[in-house]
Subunit: 191 residues, 2 copies
């Protein structure tokens, strides 16, 4: 049997691959079962329901991104760190569109807190340390940055930039330069 040894891990990995191939919305229990060479009902021995499948993919994606980000951040600070971190998101979204979309899946608070979500905020805060913002601006800046990164990537992924000839990479660079500029102008110490 092709399905020899089903495990939650194997199911999740397969689901993640399928999400990348079919789009996160196209991810179905049936498709995963098919790909694994087993019948649909088998999967329910390992997962509760379709939602759990998606949640697991979301958590996987969050973790993979956090791992990459951690690596990218090593030894960098300031704008360097900002750019490296942002590139991790954008590159990941390009390589794994389904996973990336999954990462935005609406997780319930506990699940989210148990996943890699907090690692992401942590890293963001670490980057911001390089800008020396007032303590009170910290959270605002995390939200601002997170939104800016995600928004850009998400619009680009949705094809929102196809209408205009301007190169998406160039706009990305401009965006990061501008974010850096913005944060520096918020800094307590002069640049």
């Amino acid at each position: 049997m092709a399905g020899r040894g089903l495990t939650v891990e194997r199911i999740t990995r397969t689901a993640a691959d399928l999400a990348d191939e079919l789009g996160f919305d196209g991810l179905t229990v049936s498709a995963v079962a098919r790909r694994l060479g087993v019948k649909d009902p088998n999967l329910y021995a390992h997962i509760e329901n379709a939602r759990e499948l998606k949640v697991r993919v979301a958590l996987l994606a969050l973790e993979e991104m956090a791992d990459r980000a951690t690596a990218a951040l090593a030894g960098r600070a300031g704008k360097d760190a900002l750019v490296a971190f942002a590139d991790v998101y954008r590159d990941y979204a390009k390589e794994h569109p389904g996973r990336y979309t999954a990462a935005r899946f609406d997780l319930d608070p506990q699940t989210a807190a148990a996943g890699a979500g907090p690692r992401h905020s942590e890293m963001m805060r670490a980057i911001l340390r390089g800008y020396d913002l007032p303590e009170s601006d910290q959270t605002d800046a995390v939200r601002f940055l997170g939104g800016a990164f995600h928004g850009y990537v998400s619009l680009e992924m949705a094809g929102g930039f196809r209408h205009t000839p301007r190169d998406a990479d160039a706009s990305w660079t401009w965006t990061l330069d501008t974010l850096d500029l913005a944060l520096r102008s918020r800094s307590r110490k002069p640049t």
Copy 2:
């Protein structure tokens, strides 16, 4: 019959309302038919398939937002305009989460171009005129702003800010201030 006089418009409006109530993903042909008091197959006399239903909701949302934005922008310029415009998005997303999500639906280029999408870019460009950016930065800035607005709203809507106590409105204000700052630092003329 409750369904007296089905029209694409009525179907679309009903679909949009359902999207707001159930979430865009929960929007189904069946649910719309139920709400309209007719059997599912009837709808196919007016729409091609489920996708078209979603596309129509997306176009409706885009248009409604554009209308609001147009009104909000009247008589404003500079940061005032920026804030008014951004608030339109955020408020709309709060009032109509399903419609807002729909507005990000992946439309094919022609459909998108025929809809209100271009109006949005136009308004964004109008706002940017107040900042007097170099010609070449125009498109980059539109993408940057669009991404920042959408990203923030989308994270907030997805509950991404629930983890931290900090008030989402305050962060929004900070974000808009920072965007204004960023654009001003990109301006050709001094502030």
